[in-house]
């Protein structure tokens, strides 16, 4: 153990000594320093964003049996679409299958944090609302969860953006983003106490 360790130290020492024998032009040294700073800046930005501002891509690592979604509680047909949970969070459950997104149409509020939960019932798909960051891959066997907020009301298309078969380009639907004041939680929401 001891010898292994000192062997390792020796290799590193040796590396440092040898490294210092190589000739680097002063101008090149400057350029390397600048390059390191540029790279450090970018790395710093994404790391700080990820760790402190919670800017992360969809990465939930949650599995689901794509072959029997209808038997699952969560993604059974009746539960798809927009719901407000008991904490007041707006959750949109969607199923992707060749060649559409189900349900075909949903209304969501603007300026409200939204959580999308996507699953595939067959092959690989992707979904993107152009010019927004609502984008995720939908990999069969996994739930893709992504949180976002739409600042502006309007009609947005949902496009499949991963090749899923010859009808890939026919795979799209719409989503309506409605001004916050005008939006009402769907009646079938499981909001305790509020249900009429």
């Amino acid at each position: 153990m001891q010898t292994e360790f000192s062997k390792g130290i020796n290799i590193i020492k040796d590396l440092c000594v040898q490294f210092n024998t190589i000739h680097i032009d002063p101008l090149e040294r400057k350029w390397i320093a600048i390059s390191l700073m540029i790279v450090g800046l970018f790395v710093g930005i994404i790391t700080i964003d990820a760790l402190f501002h919670g800017i992360n891509p969809p990465s939930k690592v949650e599995t689901i049996d794509s072959a029997s979604l209808h038997l699952s509680q969560e993604f059974a047909e009746d539960n798809l679409g927009v719901q407000v949970d008991d904490k007041g969070a707006v959750i949109i459950r969607m199923v992707a299958g060749r060649y559409s997104f189900f349900p075909k149409h949903v209304d969501v509020p603007a300026e409200t944090p939204l959580t999308f939960r996507w699953v595939s019932m067959d092959v690989l798909h992707g979904v993107h609302i152009p010019m927004t960051n609502m984008s995720t891959m939908i990999v069969p066997g996994y739930v893709a969860e992504i949180s976002t907020t739409f600042p502006k009301p309007g009609e947005y298309p949902l496009l499949c953006n991963e090749y899923c078969g010859l009808g890939h380009n026919h795979m799209w639907s719409n989503i309506s983003v409605i001004a916050k004041e005008d939006w009402h939680a769907p009646v079938k929401s499981h909001v305790k106490g509020e249900q009429q």
Binding site: I22, P58, N133, G141, P157, N161, H168
Partner: protein
């Protein structure tokens, strides 16, 4: 040294590479036409996706692999001045790879493998497609072994001497590719082949994507290293100057080979099957691997400046004008660097988490890689071909003005093709669509850009035809007795006094790679065996 055998080997590989290339260029132009919908009679999704799958495989796997193999054999023989180790084996590698290409081409061209070059199960293709792809990779492994054996043989015969830079880079590429291809090899052998033959009924697409991502980043550097090699070992001499720094070149190649490997998850940023900590780790590595490219840019430009000043160029930028713009290698490197600068900005967008979400899988992505792969990299393949063809065939190049025109056209065509492609991505157009049928106002804005792409593709196709024509004509020239050009490697501006062993051998770096790969892929792959996952059954398309 008589290197006729190596020349024949290299030339055979190059012909396969460029035959695949020209075929794929015609398909590329068909694709931009079909996609645009301007010619309704062309519209057919099955034909389109058979074409895109074939185009992608030919460009990304066949052109590159065969070119890199041929180039390696020539570099080894010329830089080490010794025969390539075990040439019969090299021919076996050639034929195994070629049989693989033919085997894969049959289902591709008959529409039985329209799964695109990225495979992405649970959609499955005919088994022959995967088996053919495997043979191509096995052929390339033969090349890797031969390169590393030749490298070691030379080191044994020349103890204490510095391995020529060209060979060092080539051996580093062989090491890189052995590591890189292991990911896709595991996917194909344990998942796709048994799946397509029906031996297993389900596979985990999450694991498949993880293994593919292992390969997908370093493969890009596998393609790029011959171009960088030319930057360092041919360009300075052709420009009339010296290589600025041999040691920095080695460091760049080592950092490329080491850091290209453990960072593939930037292709999985948007995937649900990997956790954010691993994505962040790979994301940081992705920026680190930009360093050798920044260093390469500096060294190449510094080498060009030395040349320009030696040729009498004055002032801050005057040296640029006094460069030999009528030298194919020099012109190519200038155009290549320009495309690298544009493409580099795009790459920063792709690599950055938050911005990636805006362009992930949009038309931006093919726009980006056509620019940096089809542009920066392939234009150097052209320049290398123009440089080597006369030497390999023993005849002067058929037409140098034609070659210069061809390089300019490739650059112009690439700009016209890829600028609108990037814009389409920002306008939300998804990649990999055969036509636009979204009933949405958004798509009206796409039309003019698609028209521009058709034109850009046409310029590129014309350029590609000129390239092939020039090579064929060169080959058909009568042999000239007094033609005795040989490969000339750049000399160094200040020759290093001594080369540290770490910059002269690969053993240590191989171990570093092993550690980094274990860290960055160990848990992310093992997790699939520990958590409860649900496989997918096979789907057609």
């Amino acid at each position: 040294m008589n290197d006729a055998a190596e020349k024949k080997l290299a030339l055979s590989h190059f012909w396969v590479a460029f035959a695949a290339f020209i075929l794929a260029c015609f398909m590329g132009e068909y694709q931009v036409l079909e996609r645009s919908g301007f010619i309704p009679a062309l519209e057919s999704a099955p034909v389109y996706f058979a074409s895109v799958s074939t185009h992608g495989v030919l460009m990304a796997f066949v052109l590159t692999t065969f070119f890199i193999m041929g180039f390696g054999y020539m570099v080894a023989a010329a830089s080490l001045k010794q025969p390539v180790w075990n040439k019969p084996l090299a021919w076996i590698g050639f034929w195994v790879a070629l049989v693989g290409v033919v085997l894969a081409a049959i289902p591709l061209l008959t529409g039985k493998a329209s799964v695109l070059y990225t495979f992405y199960p649970p959609i499955v293709a005919h088994a022959a497609f995967y088996i053919g792809a495997t043979l191509l990779v096995v052929g390339s492994w033969v090349w890797c072994v031969i390169m590393l054996m030749t490298f070691n043989q030379w080191k044994k015969a020349n103890p204490g001497q510095t391995v020529p830079l060209a060979m060092f880079a080539t051996a580093a590429n062989a090491m890189l590719w052995l590591w890189a291809s292991a990911g896709v090899a595991l996917e194909v052998l344990f998942q796709l082949v048994p799946f397509s033959l029906g031996w297993i009924s389900t596979i985990d697409p999450g694991l498949a994507r993880t293994l593919f991502a292992w390969t997908l980043h370093p493969i890009v550097y596998f393609w790029l290293i011959p171009a960088y090699t030319a930057f360092y070992v041919f360009v300075p001499k052709q420009a009339g100057g010296y290589l600025f720094s041999d040691e920095m070149a080695r460091i760049a190649f080592i950092v490329l080979a080491v850091f290209a490997l453990p960072i593939g998850f930037h292709h999985l940023y948007m995937d649900p099957e990997q956790a954010q900590g691993w994505k962040l780790l790979h994301g940081i590595g992705t920026f680190v691997v930009a360093l050798p490219t920044l260093v390469t840019g500096f060294t190449v430009i510094a080498s060009l400046e030395i040349a320009g000043r030696l040729r009498g160029g004055k002032g801050l930028f005057g040296w640029i004008l006094s460069l030999p713009w009528d030298n194919t290698m020099v012109l190519a490197v200038i155009l290549s660097l320009l495309m690298l600068i544009f493409g580099g900005f795009g790459g920063i967008v792709n690599a950055s988490y938050a911005m990636n979400a805006m362009i992930h899988n949009t038309a931006w992505v093919p726009g980006h890689f056509h620019l940096i792969f089809g542009g920066t990299t392939i234009i150097m393949y052209f320049a290398i071909a123009y440089y080597l063809w006369p030497i390999l065939a023993g005849k002067p190049l058929f037409s140098k003005p034609m070659a210069l025109t061809q390089l300019w056209l490739w650059f112009i065509g690439m700009v016209i093709l890829t600028t609108p492609w990037h814009i389409l991505g920002l306008l939300g157009q998804p990649r990999r669509i055969s036509s636009v049928v979204y009933n949405n106002l958004l798509t009206l804005a796409w039309k003019p850009y698609e028209l521009a792409m058709i034109f850009g593709g046409l310029v590129l196709l014309g350029s590609a035809c000129l390239f092939i024509y020039n090579l064929v004509k060169t080959q058909l020239n009568p042999v000239s007795e007094d033609f005795a050009e040989t490969i000339e490697f750049a000399e160094q501006y200040h020759a290093p006094a001594s080369m540290p062993d770490y910059l002269n051998s690969l053993g240590l770096w191989n171990k570093v790679i092993a550690v980094l790969m274990a860290i960055s892929f160990g848990f992310p792959i093992l997790q699939f065996f520990f958590m409860k996952t649900f496989g997918s059954s096979a789907w057609g398309y």
